[in-house]
Amino acid sequence: MVWQLDIIILTLVIISGIAAITIKDLLGASVLFGAYSFLMCLLWAIMGAVDVAFTEASVGAGVSTVLFVAAVFQTTRRSKD
């Protein structure tokens, strides 16, 4: 595969991962986590692991983001630290 694409997606994965744990807004953190999952899915698709990419797209970017948003909706939107 094109290695430039690989580098770009890997950088975005790291950026969204760090952003997801540093951001104060928990709703934003769950959305960033969904973005992280989707980028990981792209990375796996590039490496040829299509089954894993499919699982990541459906579980990581799809359902778990909804569950996180639901949990934020029921608790609080601001993190304590």
Partner: protein, 276 residues
């Protein structure tokens, strides 16, 4: 305390990075996994189980135990969420909102007020999400059947293309979650109750373990689908292929039901009253 935590994380991270240098390169043909395990699967998956997608053959046939306990773990997760969150105490809310369907007027009924009892004229709405959005409802009504059909395709076509029970089950569960988001939680619970989803989750795990047990009873080892040949009236190789499909259906059923169950419990904080 924070600096100590950051220091520990950095130390562990660099240790991990140091250890990955010992790993073989990505796609290295001389790596141990590529030398001993992969050639066997690549050469024999089609011959043993008539499954062109090797990943499916490895997941559901060669490593059947692994997938069975993964399904059991997902079931346990749903069960744990149920036991932690579900509350059965019927505490009345202070106020309830009802929409008069013909006019669209929303009534706020305080505690002790008379609840409108004609369901054809009044519908109860969530206190957080009041707009009656025709576009969202119509779009979801059109899109949900396609999602469900695609999910069934993913489960059934796992032998030939990427996909299988886990992915298909999650997509099937996501379609119900979309229904719950686009309308409200109560109407979705009326369509697929908590009891049904719990029974379906247990049934999925039972289908998987029961297939293994049936193989055991037919005189082979646990989860060796070749032993199902007399039951399925086919050759031993095709029996393994069909056995994989049966097992994938079980996984899909369990995963779908657990995803819906998790959503019900998390989005309503265990009350199953007002959701997202």
């Amino acid at each position: 305390m924070k600096t100590v935590a950051i220091l520990t994380v950095c130390l562990c991270g660099s240790l991990f990075l140091f250890c990955t240098m010992e790993f073989p390169n990505w796609g290295d043909p001389a790596a141990p996994a590529s030398m001993h395990l992969s050639p066997y699967f690549i050469q024999n998956a089609e011959k043993d189980a008539a499954v062109p997608n090797i990943v499916t053959a490895v997941l559901a046939d060669y490593r059947g135990y692994d997938t069975m306990f993964e399904t059991a773990v997902i079931f346990a997760a749903g069960l744990a969420c149920f036991f932690l969150l579900r509350t059965f105490t019927r505490k009345r809310r202070n106020e309830r909102l009802f929409r008069h369907i013909p006019t669209g007027i929303v009534l706020n009924i305080k505690a002790g007020g008379k609840i409108p009892d004609d369901p054809s004229k009044f519908e109860r709405i969530d206190s957080h999400w009041t707009p009656n959005d025709l576009i969202i409802k119509t779009t979801c009504r059109l899109i949900i059947p396609s999602i469900q059909l695609f999910a069934l395709y993913v489960i059934a076509h796992g032998h030939h293309s990427p996909g299988g029970g886990f992915q298909g089950g999650v997509i099937l569960g996501a379609s119900f979650i979309l229904l719950a988001i686009s309308t409200d939680l109560r109407s979705t619970v009326r369509r697929l109750s908590e009891r049904t989803s719990a029974i379906m989750a247990s049934a999925g795990v039972l289908i998987y373990a029961g297939t293994g047990l049936l193989c055991l009873l037919l005189g082979s080892v646990f989860l060796d689908y070749g032993a199902l040949a007399p039951v399925l009236r086919s050759g031993s190789v095709m029996a393994r292929s069909h056995g994989i499909l049966i097992v994938e259906i079980g996984v899909g059923l369990a995963v779908m039901a657990v995803m819906i169950w998790l959503y019900y419990n998390i989005s309503s904080a265990g009350k199953h009253d007002e959701g997202l």
